[in-house]
Amino acid sequence: MKPTLWAGLLGIVVVLFATSLLVGSAALDPATSLRGLVGQGDDAAAITMREIRLPRAILGVLVGASLALSGAALQGFLRNPLAEPGVIGVSSSASLGAVVVFYSGVAGVSVFALPAGALLGALVAVVVLLVIASGNTTTLTLILAGVGLSSLAAAFTALALNLSPNPFASYEIIFWLLGSLKDRSMAHVWVCLPLMAVGTLLILACGSALDALSLGEESAASLGIDVARTRLMLVGGVALCVGAGTSVTGAIGFVGLVVPHLIRPLTDCMPGRLLLPSALGGAALLLAADIVARLPWFGNELNVGVLTALIGAPFFLWLVIRSRREGF
């Protein structure tokens, strides 16, 4: 990868991270913000900076990076520009897990109940996918299994909404499904960081295998790639990354779809060498979207998941139209 691309992406992430720390509903000037961040100055500034804005910015980086990394890995593995973490059904299953926790009322017991439910949902999806993917099946099977899982999760989520005992609970469920980085704490960061770290390592270890897979599975195998093992590592890595992210922020869609497409033309298009730049790009995109979402547009903060869907869904449709016209 070109050093200029690294430097450029890293620079954008750093600038957006700093901006994310400086923008918010509490009116703090940059100097006060900085003092608050290092634990000096008045208590209010310190609390705002260290307990509200810092975890929010860190989660923006972590979740954005892991979503885009997962998207780049899936697109490379499936040789399909429409692949997205949502495709393998982990996002929706994680959301379902969160909804179940909400619906059952366990959410009140502990702050970790909700993340635990989402993680459990992601895990169930992974196990089902592992069972299907560990057989010698084609990539099409994997996609179809993902579509099936997504639909099932959506159906159960709708059922939960249907049966919801009071309007307030439905409101909370919907709010969760839209995805947001708001009001997260450092505890949330510590919940998802180790899982994402393991998932990221699993995905990055598949880099050269993904390069070889751009020639198809048989050619990759003839180049010494263990395609079955790569499939397992990717499904596991993506599930960990997406499940951990969704467990903390709710479903944030389309980051994993859009970012690899924006970054790919800047690289040599090799799927393996697209992984790290995509992670950086994802961090930048989610930080930027979260900054825009928290500006007082309609008096209310927007949910960042709504914003990414508003950008991502038309992009998805455009990709479909383009691929119909000229093939992938």
Binding site: A212, L213, L215, G216, E218, S219, S222, L223, G224, M270
Partner: protein, 260 residues
């Protein structure tokens, strides 16, 4: 170095595709694998490359294929599938460079030796002028040459190519076969499946014939290109002549109503 398959049987989704196929390719030779559609040519090549569960024995240099590790196989056998897959707008030079993957040390980029080998492979398949073009935007014939260059760049003692010449213009078909002869002469064993009998007769050292899942006969082109085989296996009649450079096989009609 040689590669040999002995009495291979393969069953694919209940259908017996191979029922006793044997073949042997010695170093320094180009062997053409011929047979009608559905005779099992691709299946035999996949069995030889180790990508298929098959009963029978595949020997690489007299060692059983299954005793070799994945990494070792990739340094012994290059395999060019019939289906041409290029996933992304990757440059031709990067596609060809993928052939060097089995020889790479982890984390180390291309060294001078890799560049030389890739360059030679691209020259052999006449794709040097395409080096910086995105490979998935090329024509079918150009893609076939790029992918063949990729397999040649793997620089293995054995090269298995499944219908590499289909879709190529006549000049590039001939150039490709000449290229195979050249790498065979440099000490490799090359197995090529073909449909073009004329091309096979003229450019292969030996021919193997697959008919209904078994290998029937085989040998030098002049021994194979006889009316019994041409009629019995392929169902055609052909004019067979010899000139100073070798055999000329020219199909003239179906076996039943030979001649136009």
């Amino acid at each position: 170095m040689s590669i040999a398959a002995i009495d291979i049987h393969v069953q694919l989704s209940g259908r017996r595709v191979l029922t006793g196929a044997s073949i042997r390719v010695e170093t320094g030779t180009v062997v053409g694998l011929l047979g009608p559609n559905g005779a099992g040519k691709s299946t035999l090549i996949r069995a030889l490359s180790g990508h298929l569960a098959a009963t029978g024995q595949v020997l690489v240099n007299e060692m059983p294929l299954e005793s070799l590790s994945r990494a070792r196989r990739a340094r012994l056998i290059a395999y060019l599938p019939q289906q041409r897959v290029i996933g992304w707008p990757v440059k031709v030079r990067d596609i060809v460079d993928l052939g060097r993957m089995p020889w790479r040390t982890w984390g180390v980029g291309p060294i001078e030796n890799d560049r030389v080998i890739c360059r030679e492979a691209m020259e052999l398949m006449d794709v040097v002028h395409l080096a910086d073009r995105p490979a998935n935007a090329l024509s079918g014939g150009e893609q076939a040459r790029v992918l063949t260059a990729r397999a040649i760049a793997q620089d293995t003692p054995v090269l298995l190519a499944d219908e590499p010449a289909s879709g190529l213009d006549p000049a590039h078909q001939i150039a490709m076969m000449a290229g195979f002869r050249k790498i065979a002469a440099s000490g490799r064993a090359v197995l090529v499946s073909l449909h073009d009998l004329t091309l096979a007769a003229r450019w292969c050292d030996r021919l193997a014939i697959l008919h209904d899942g078994r290998t029937v006969g085989g040998g030098a082109p002049a021994e194979v290109m006889v009316p019994e085989v041409l009629g019995g296996v392929f169902g055609i009649a052909a004019r067979v002549e010899t000139d100073s450079c070798g055999l000329i096989v020219s199909p003239v009609g179906l076996a039943r109503d030979a001649g136009p």
